[in-house]
Amino acid sequence: MYSCIILEKGPVVKMRYKKRTDFGDGMRQVYFEIKKVFGGTRSRMALLLLMLLMGVTFYFAMSVEYVNEEGETEAGFGAVQKLRAAQKEWSGDLDVEKIGQVIAENRRINETPEGRSEQLKESNIAYGWKQGIAEIRNLLNCSYAEGFREYDYYRADSLSEAEAGSFYHNRIRLLEEWLAGEARDQYSGAEKAYLTGQYESLETPFYYDYRKGWTQLFEYAPTVVMITMLFLGYLVAGIFSNEFAWRADAVFFASCHGRDRAVSAKVWAGVGIVTGIYWIVMLFYSTVVLGYLGADGWNCPVQTEFGDWKCFYHLTVWQKYLLIVIGGYIGCLFMAGLCMLVSARTKSAVLAVMVPFVLIFLPSFLGNLESAAVNKILGLLPDRLLQVGAALGYFDLYTVGGRVIGAVPILLVVYGILAVAVLPVVYRCYVRS
């Protein structure tokens, strides 16, 4: 008979003592909830599979090649070191002088017998000499392209040093031409002005450095985040519904804390699993890739990567990384929250586990509709959070309170709020089961 009388010296003391013990009990229940999730063979197998897939992704992310003086391809850490050394020689501000030097160096290599040769081996040797300027050369191809959406790999080969001065101006000019032509009807006047303003206000010259580590990290980040999310969905899908599947719900709800603290523990366990696994995976991924390929170039503007040349956000590489990992976390938390909500509402883990699949893959099908209105909606769907790196490159603009704003800040704020807001809904839904 557990009814008890508790005497306390005063209200302040009671509150402090109770908070401490309640917190301890709550943590213990969270521990047991997590144990329920990972106690099963299936969950452990899922984790093993996640590790395996991560291993494969890590392998591809760390695969870097270097072409040596003999035109042979090298791989491994030695290749990374050589590529790094070659590109480091060109680090610094990409001013007119540096651009001119790159154009001259590119032409010099092209004019060598190896550069002119059509023999594979000799071409490879010439390519090997260009590896130090390869990234800047790509930027030249973007800047001096025929149109905003054009890319000509050989454009840099036809440039002269005299054209170096228009390197940054071209970026703005091509945008303006595109907005006045092809994209005339896609954006409002305010949005066009916003884009042009963003381009014009970007600080130049860009600081350039070897940044292969970040490039590779960003390239495979969406894969890592999506795989992690799918596994997280699988893990949290059963937190609520399994009580019913195991027919343990009667004892659970008939217990003293079965309709309050024990349900909170389930919610916190879900948040804990998402937080723990996501950050372990992402930090491990970042550490391994950057540790292997180097974290140089963290302070370069994202536009120094040819894939982000057109990006209108003013960000450094390090800031882009933060947005990717934070966005991924918010996305995972939101999707896992929805997953738990479906689990609590329908009492079905099968339906719950489908939530992340639908949220991730449905936008891919809708994207084929090619409608401006649909694209506006797609730009704000939560799958974008799992691929913030790519979302930074999209020209998704929205007008909020008379201010034009890109999709990424909206995604982070809106889904950040929703990810937190969904948790009490899950709690209430399950308490009323």
Binding site: C4, I6, P11, V251
Partner: protein, 332 residues
Amino acid sequence: MIHVLFAPPMAAWRARLKMRSHFHYVLCLSEAKGMDISMKLEIEDLTKQFQDVTAVDGVSCTLTTGVYGLLGVNGAGKTTLMRMLCTLLRPTAGRILWDGQDIFALDGAYRRILGYLPQDFGFYPDFTVRDYLHYIASIKGLRPAAARKRTAVLLQQVGLAKVENRKMKKLSGGMKRRVGIAQAMLNDPQILILDEPTAGLDPNERIRFRNLISELAQDRLVLLSTHIVSDIEYIANEILLMKDGRICISGTTEDLTAGMPEQVWLVSVPRSEVVSYTKRYKVSNIKTLHGEARLRILSAEKPAENAVLEEAMLEDVFLHYFGERAGGENAV
């Protein structure tokens, strides 16, 4: 500041006050044997409807300390009634009061004194027995140290101390049921509700389980539902017969047998006449002996010249009220 959940007389609890920490004093009433604590669970005109089906239909009764046996055929409404008593289902009409307060308003405070073993006892398959009990203890509001002590005591009591590290999914049916009763007892409940606790157990396990329940039933309100008459007969002080969602009759075994309008007769007949008797009378037992059959018949009148009057048992009462449906699955 004093927080009183269920206040006993001042003098009694003061004598048993224990200091738990510098600022925290706890009195466990379970240790206060012999204390006059009035426990009363009042069920007032309780009804539960599921769409067109009325599972519980205007049940009213008052339960105090003791073992109550809720007897009825499958579908009589026993489980629905028990689930309402455990706050798992909200009644369509009526109230359940614990010491005058609505149990749904009491919420966690009521569940704190409740122990429940559901008919379909589920568990976490990958938890060990000890982990399972520690977890249930935590959601029942027991502190870790108390949970560890209580778990050890109960594992001894239910005879599972040796398998405390075994995973739940690897236990036999009887062992699982014993874990079930242990979890129900973790918080030393004042109200213990056991829904078909012996269903599916072999005879040895059933006897063992019955004894265990009797042992645990002291000083608390135990409501035990079953359609197995012998279980109730052995351990219940008072029996509630439930039929079509209603308590049709209640009382001790003696009350029920004495109040039965029919008498019990023992008749020896040729085997060829057995069918004829079963058609005309309620036959609670047929025993074949050397070419003839000995029938146990319920009848207001003497069914045959050679019929001998027998003392009625609870099984006969069950047959009287439930008729042919009493012979349903698993009934003994």
